[in-house]
Structure formats: C-alpha cells, structure tokens
C-alpha cells in the first residue's frame, strides 16, 4: 500500500474526571481503551502526528453558535468548554497550517445541541462543531463549510443551527430515524427556504455494513461536495455505526471508518458518539488517525472482525442504491424547489417540539424566516420550555443582506420584555450578541 503522508494534529481530551452520571454511556471510561491503543501503537511518536493540548472555549465563542437559555454559563460545565475548545484548537492548527488536518478526539460530544439550548439533549449541551465553525468564520474569513456527520444518530443539532444557512452544508448519514433517537433526519428535511439543499439527510436501514456506507459516500456525499465546493470539510466522526455498538444497530467496521475518512479527507474531524468502548473505539480511532495521517491502516482490525457475519442483505443494498439516486435528483433540483415550497410568502414559519432527553426538558418553538434571495434570511425564534423560561431571539445570518439586517434590527428594537424572560440578538455577520 502506497500512501502520501500528511501532517496530522491530534487533540486528545478524554476528560477522565467527568461523566453525565455514574452509569451513563457518556462516561469517564469512554476513551480509556482508545488512549491505551493510541499510546501502545506509539502513534504520538510518529513524525507526522502531533498532539496538542486543547484550549478552553469562551462564553463568547458559544454565543456565536447558540442562544443559550438563560445564558451559556448556566448550561455548560468546564468539560463542555474544553471539548469545544479542543475542536477550536483543531481548527486553529489546520488553518494556521501548522498541520494539514486534525482530529479532535474529545468528549463530551455536541451534535444534538440545537440553536436554542435550554439544557442537554442526546448527551450534548453545546454543539462543539458549530462553536468551532463560528470561530473559524470569525477568525479566518472562511465562508463555505461542509459538515459531514457520520455518527449513527441524526446530527439534528448541527442541522438546526445551520438550517437556514446556505453557506454551511450539513450532510448527515445515520440509522433511520424510525428506528433510533432522535427520530428525525429524513430525506425531505432539506434545509430552510433560503438554504434548500444545504441540509442533506441520508437515513440508512439498520444492519447497513461497510458496503452501504461507502456506496453513499461515493454516490451521494462526494458528488455533492464536488458541487458545493466547500473551503473546508468537517467530519462529525461519531463511531456508533460500529457493529459492536451497544445502543445502535448498524454493521460498520473500523476498516470501513478508516476508508471513509481517507476518501472524505476532512480537514477537521471531531469525535461525536460511539459507545462500544472496548471492542470498537480503540480500533476505529486508530484507523481514523492513520487514515488522516496518510499511513497504512490495513492492519487495523477488530479482533473479532468477520465481514461475512456482518454483511448487509441484498435488500439493504437495493434500498440504499435507490435512496442515493433519489437524493441526488433532489440535489440537482435544489434551485427549482424554492418556488414550489415557498410560493409568494414573505415569511416562512415552522413549529418544533423539542425534547431534552438528558435533562428531561420539553420545549416548544416557533421559527420564522424571512424569505430572501440575497442571503440566508433573518431568523426569529420564539421558544418556551417547561422550565418556565420563554425567550425570543433575532438572528442575522453569517452573510446578511441590508434588508434582512434592517428588519432584524427593527424587530429587536421594538421587542420589549413583557412575556419573555430574555430577548436575544445574534448577528453572525458582525459578531454581535446582545441580550435584553
């Protein structure tokens, strides 16, 4: 096997002193055996792999990506600031060209944390990729970014944060939402009115194996990335598609993960889920690190790996092939969809019911988007949770047209306390965050 080696940064932060609760899957032990394997393989001694200490994200960093209720401090602990900080460190090292790519092997994860955050859902409090993306946009002037979420669960948080952003392409491949938390992520979820096609969902049937994942990669993800032409590619590298994962039902292997990473060639990978901490994570992580570094990963195999035992059925293969075609047809038609979906409306509304499984909070949201042909559009959200908190948020997109800006500023000015605990103004373009 001939390889072109790359300089890879590794931000390893296993948070050995933090867990959600004593027997929770997202626990201290989670990256213990991964650390063992990484150290035993001597990966940190390789000339082209460098380990970096994670930075600590600030509340300001979080406020660029989220509307935290009541504020960022209340819904995060130090562990969240470090795991988001680790993702930011990965981005810094890549964008300052200290390394060619980087892997933030950090916990706790983040991809279920949505734009408005009242607490923790799906083991996530804040969306570490989104915090990183907003950091990148502010500090490195990068506009077009793609996130490819390869966690087994739908990356609903990242999707929510960038639902109306035509410049951030969010692709999520995951176990079908009819069979797994968070029960969402179907192919018709395709982005907000001004960002159709910037959200791509690829639900996969349970028992999908390497073949299916790689088919989707080759026939959906890579062609769409080619069209979209992002300046950087981020991989939300969840590892719970593995055949041994205890809380999901897929059949992906360590070798498959490494091959996927090699083909996708992300600039930054960020660990998300993955709870087969002994049988999968040590091998999947070593595989991904080697693939990113351009080194031979062919000898990375789970001790019990038997491709015949986990191979997907013909039905699954056929299903995935046809779904892939369907998604590509939608993608090719994305510019024509707006007229059909939006019609002549000036504003588009959607209401959402969000359950925070980790913290047991229920939230009702009404999102209003200004239909706009010049930018992602002004977004306004009214949100009420059963904690008794009710808020309103005005959000201007990363690139904001004068009309949306004028409207947004006007709405924010006119809104006054009364029924709301807080009113937020998040200007992603000018990096302004105001709470009243």
């Amino acid at each position: 096997m001939k390889n072109k080696t790359r300089k890879t940064g590794l931000i390893f932060f296993p948070a050995f002193d933090w867990a959600i609760s004593e027997t929770h899957p997202e626990r201290e032990e989670r990256l213990l055996y991964t650390q063992d394997q990484v150290l035993e393989e001597g990966l940190l001694d390789l000339d082209n792999i460098r380990e970096f200490k994670p930075g600590i994200a600030t509340y300001e960093d979080i406020n660029r990506a989220h509307i935290c209720v009541p504020d960022a401090q209340s819904i995060t602990t130090q562990s969240h600031l470090i795991s988001a900080g680790g993702a930011i460190t990965a981005a810094q090292k890549v964008l300052t060209k200290e390394v060619d790519n980087a892997f933030a092997l950090v916990r706790p994860p983040g991809h279920h944390a949505m734009l408005v955050a009242h607490g923790a859902r799906g083991f996530c409090n804040i969306n570490i990729e989104a915090v990183m993306i907003e950091y990148i946009r502010k500090n490195f002037g990068i506009k077009k970014i793609a996130v490819v979420d390869t966690d087994c669960h739908h990356g609903d948080g990242t999707q929510d944060i960038y639902w109306n952003d035509p410049d951030v392409l969010c692709i999520s491949m995951h176990q079908d939402g009819h069979t797994l938390y968070p029960d969402t992520g179907f192919i018709n979820d395709f982005g907000g009115p001004n960002a159709l096609g910037a959200t791509i969902n690829i639900p996969l049937p349970p028992k999908t194996s390497d073949e299916g994942f790689l088919h989707v990669l080759d026939h959906v993800i890579l062609p769409i990335l080619d069209d979209f032409r992002p300046e950087i590619i981020i991989n939300s590298a969840g590892q719970d598609n593995h055949y041994s994962d205890p809380i999901t039902d897929m059949c992906f292997s360590a070798h498959g993960y490494a091959l996927l990473n090699e083909k996708l060639a992300p600039h930054i990978a960020v660990l998300e889920g993955g709870y087969s901490i002994e049988k999968a994570l040590p091998y999947v992580n070593v595989g991904i690190i080697l693939a990113m570094a351009g080194l031979d990963y062919s000898a990375v195999r789970e001790p019990d790996y038997d491709p015949d035992k986990i191979r997907q059925s013909m039905d699954i293969t056929r299903f995935i092939e046809s779904e892939s075609q369907e998604i590509i047809l939608m993608w090719n038609d994305r510019y024509n969809m707006k007229a059909k979906i939006v019609g002549s409306a000036g504003y588009v509304r959607r209401s959402k019911s969000i359950y925070y499984d980790t913290d047991g909070i229920r939230e009702k949201q009404m999102e209003t988007v200004r239909v706009c042909n010049d930018c992602g559009g002004l977004v306004m959200i009214e949100s009420a949770a059963d904690t008794g908190k009710k808020i309103f948020a005005v959000i201007l997109p990363g690139t904001c047209c004068p009309e949306c800006r004028r409207n947004g500023e006007m709405f924010f000015e006119r809104l006054s306390g009364g029924q709301y605990n807080h009113i937020y103004f998040q200007d992603r373009e000018k990096d302004v965050f105001i709470v009243k």
Partner: protein, 554 residues
C-alpha cells in the same frame, strides 16, 4: 565515604565524598581501550588506597552503553514480535532478524490469539543457524499480560541464549518503543557485561570488597550485579550524572533550569520544586525512541568548541565542532576563543584566539572585541530561546483530566544553574536574558562524579488492577495474579508500594531512602450494558531521583 567515578568519553573524573563534602577530586584522560586503566589512574590521583577502608560504596557513571549504541558496536539481535492488529509492521523499524509471529493480547490484557509453538520453534531454528544468541521478545500490550512473552521465551530457552523481555523493561504502553528498548538491551548485553567484568577486575586490583553501583539514565543508582540483565538502563548516564551533580552541589528546592555548557553541546534540564524532570515517554538515543526512564535533557548544538562562521552576514555559532578552540591549537575560531578575546577567561593561548577571530572581524568590517561580544550574545540568544522553548513545551504537555487542565502545575523557574567550561563567562548574560538569577555550583569540573556519588536508588512500578477480570498486573516485577472483585485503589497502591520496595531493595537502595511518590492514580468504573461490572484501576509509583539521605553517607 563514597567514591564517585564518571567515565566519560574524554575524561574520567573521580571524587571522594564525606558528609556531602568533597574530600578529594581528580581528572584523568579516559583510555577507551582500557577502562580499568582509567579507573586505576583516577583512583590513584585521589589516594584511594589510603581511604579504602572508609569507603562504603562506589558509584560509577559510564558512557559505555551510550557509546556502544552511538558507535554501533552492538550485537546482532533476533527479535520475536507479537503484534496483533494495529499499526502496520511495515511502518515499524525492523531488520531481517525480526519475526512477527502469531499471538495477541488486547488492551485489557486478554489473550485474543494464542502463540503457535511450531512457529516459534522455526524462528529459534533460524537464530541457531545464524548463530544469534541475543534475543528480544516483545508483545503488544505485554505490560498488561506478560504470559505470551514468557511462553515464547520458554520455547526458545537454551543455555547460550540471553533474552530481553519487553514487559520487564518498562510498564509503560508503547509497542514500538518497547521493541526498540528490548532490542537495544539485547544488543549491548555483551559489551556491557565485558565492562562489568572489568569493574570486577578493578575491584580485585585495589583489593576492595565494596558494593558498586551504576548510575542509570533516570539519575538513580543500581547495584552493578543487578544491572547486568538490564544494561540499557545505563544509557545517558553522563547527562544524568551532570543533573544529579547540580542537585548535589546546590540547595535547589525551587523550579529551576540547569545548563551544562560543554564542548559540543549545551544540555538543558529542568527542575520542578527541586526535583529533576523525567522524559515523558522515555529516552531517545541515536534516533531510537525507547521506554527507558531518563532525566529530561534537551541538547542543543552550542558549546565552547562550536565553530563560528559567517553566513549571509549573520554570525552562526555551531552546531559543528572540529577539535578544540583555536586558543588550544584548534583550526577554527570557536565560542571559547571569543570568550578569551573578551578577557572573560584566562585560558590557552590568547594570541591564537585573536588570530582566529581576526579574519571574521575583517569580513564583517568590525573589530575583534565587538565581534567577540556579538558571538557571545548570539550563543546566549540561541541558548535562552531554547530554554524558553523547552519550558513552553513542558508547560503545554497534553493532560487528560479537567482538573489537570485547569489547575495543573506550571513550571516557573526561579534560578538558572550553569556548569561546564564557559559557565562563568556566560552565566551572567544568560541569567539576564532569562530574567532570573544564576548560580555556578562548586566543583563544577567534577560535577558528574559527584552527582553519581550522591544519587539514590530509583525505580518505578506500573500497577493495573482490573476487578472485572480479577487480575493485578505489575509489569516491571512480572507480577500477574488474581485479586478479589472488591480490590480497591488503596489496595492497588499498597500492592504497588510493596512491589516497588522489593524492587529497589534488590537494586541496592538503603532502607532510609524509600520515599515513594504516587505519580498517577486513576480509577474507572467499568460499565457494561448500563451496569457497573468492575473497576479499572491504574497507578504509577516511583522513588524519584534525588540524593541519598544523610544517615548513610559514609
């Protein structure tokens, strides 16, 4: 009294120490072809015979192992490697005498694939045909379960073969480093044992029956008889002796930096609260990354004999050297010559120093004094910028807990200790540039011998208790035994301390020098399917490098 001898590549130094005081000191040239002659010569110069009856211990530091490796005077080694899945063997350094065989232990210490006896026997046949008698056996995760390394050794055992088993050399994880460590240990086995024999002859020659210790890379001592199976531990004992020498000649209790400015290089070392720092993963020697516990040093190519040249109008100091300073009859202008020109050292022949610096001054259209000052400034700038880099790297080492990340110790040096030939000339400016005061220890010409003389015995054990499997492993001591499901962290530490005590006493530690430090302890609940099934407890316990306590100073 203690006799400390440092057998360096150029000089052999000896000191007689009593109550921390230097009674006698001597420096002779090393005869590399006859170590015993060098030992005898140094001994004579300190009137060893008169003091012999008062000497309680002899400690040697020697470059024998380092030189064997650096000069490639090593034996052919057969390597049997049990690698299992992971990094491709093609990525690892290996020779035609390396064999990857079946067998695999996983990260938990569970045997996944067995050793195949016939395969090992075939390998043994190759070693026999090739007349290879030094054999390294290394398994991935063998520190978690040494059984496979032991069974391979059992199959290969015969009278002529010496084995280096990976798990006995270090308890730390890192398969490629474990391979390099076992390889080097086997490769220098013969040359080191020849040296030990010479030391035996020396003792017989002087008629002494005194325990002899060898200084290890981590600045600790080991009885010479105990060192013969693990010669690789004695690499880098020169730099280790120098650091221990600083410790022995100063009352260092604070965070500090030490500089050993030699002929070719300047070695930077770092102290935290008065204790010398260890390499995080292990010593690197001649490009080989090993698991050998060693004192941290960073060597940079600036020393007294560094050649000065001008490139694109810029002054360069080192890293090349070629013989002594011009003032001592060398061919090229050196840093030492600049120091002599500045009148900061009355050494050698000043005329020759001036003559060597003159052409460079002409080239830069300046006078020799200004140029010499610029040379000195440049050398100091290189050294201090490297000191800052070292400190920044140490203070930015990754950590794995929130507690350490937020509250971990930061090294903030309060002083710089400078030893070596140009110490007096350079220390004031170095200190000014770094922003903390300097000290030049006494007896700096025999620092190494003194450091060796006063170093205590050190060791480390790595404990892993897996209460789900009910197994306790202490790799360095070959302990692999059953424990009850209820085994606790406290019990793991206690078992580790007992193993460490046995280990250092066997290595020759005094009962007064058993001050142990738990450097790491972690306890993880093991959760399977939402139930706690056991605990995974990890601990590292060490006797850290330091001086022997006063009560046993002869």
């Amino acid at each position: 009294m203690i006799l400390g001898i440092d057998v360096g590549g150029t000089h052999t130094d000896a000191v007689l120490v009593e109550n921390y005081q230097v009674r006698k000191k001597a420096k002779v040239l090393t005869d590399n072809s006859n170590i015993m002659a060098s030992l005898l010569a140094a001994s004579q110069n300190i009137s060893l015979q008169e003091n012999l009856k008062n000497i309680k211990r002899i400690v040697l530091s020697t470059t024998i192992s380092t030189n064997a490796i650096v000069q490639n005077k090593i034996d052919r080694v057969g390597m049997v490697l049990l690698s299992g899945p992971g990094l491709s063997p093609a990525t690892l350094k290996s020779s035609t005498d390396s064999f990857y065989v079946s067998g695999y232990i996983n990260h938990r210490g569970i045997e996944i694939k067995p050793v195949i006896e016939q395969e090992i026997k075939d390998t043994g046949e190759y070693f026999r045909n090739e007349n290879i008698q030094k054999i390294g056996i290394v398994g991935k995760f063998s520190t978690r379960n040494p059984q496979q390394e032991l069974s391979v050794a059992k199959i290969l055992r015969n009278n002529n073969r010496q084995f280096s088993l990976g798990h006995r050399l270090s308890g730390h994880l890192n398969f490629p480093r474990r391979i390099a460590t076992a390889y080097l240990n086997a490769a220098i086995d013969r040359i080191y044992n020849d040296f030990v024999r010479e030391v035996g002859l020396f003792l017989r020659e002087i008629g002494a029956n005194i325990p002899v210790y060898i200084l290890k890379a981590d600045g600790g001592t080991i009885l010479i008889d105990q060192s013969i199976s693990y010669p690789v531990q004695t690499i880098h004992s020169g730099p280790a002796a120098s650091i221990m020498g600083v410790l022995a000649t100063t009352a260092i209790k604070e965070d500090a930096v030490a500089l050993d400015i030699g002929g070719t290089t300047t070695d930077i070392s770092v102290f935290a609260d008065g204790a010398p720092l260890l390499e995080a993963s292990g010593v690197t020697i001649n490009g080989n990354k090993t698991l050998i516990r060693g004192l941290y040093t960073k060597s940079i190519g600036v020393g007294g004999d560094s050649i000065i040249c001008i490139k694109n109008g810029e002054i360069l100091v080192g890293p090349l050297r070629d013989g002594p300073a011009a003032a001592f009859g060398g061919t090229y202008p050196t840093l030492t010559d600049a120091i002599i020109v500045l009148g900061m050292a009355a050494l050698g022949n000043p005329q020759k120093a001036i003559a060597a610096i003159q052409p460079l001054a002409a080239q830069l259209k300046t006078d020799i004094i200004s140029l010499s000052q610029s040379i000195l400034d440049k050398a100091i700038a290189v050294i201090t910028s490297n000191v800052r880099k070292v400190l920044s790297a140490i203070n930015n080492q990754p950590v794995y807990t929130i507690h350490e990340l937020l509250e971990g110790k930061t090294i903030r040096p309060q002083s710089v200790y400078v030893v070596g030939g140009p110490a007096a000339a350079m220390a004031p400016s170095v200190a000014r540039s770094l922003g903390y005061p300097y000290h030049i220890p006494e007896h700096s010409e025999v620092t190494n011998a003194l450091g060796a003389a006063l170093a205590r015995t050190t060791a480390e054990v790595t404990v892993l208790a897996d209460t789900e499997k009910e197994v306790l492993t202490i790799s360095e001591e070959g302990i692999f035994r059953k424990i009850p499901h209820t085994f606790s962290s406290a019990q793991a530490i206690e078992a580790g301390k007992e193993a460490l005590k046995q280990r250092v006493l066997r290595m020759g530690a005094s009962i007064d020098d058993l001050e142990m430090e738990v450097t790491e302890v972690q306890e993880f609940n093991m959760i399977r399917e939402f139930y706690t099934t056991g605990k995974n407890i990890r601990a590292k316990i060490q006797i850290k490098p330091g001086l022997i306590s006063a009560c046993n100073i002869g």
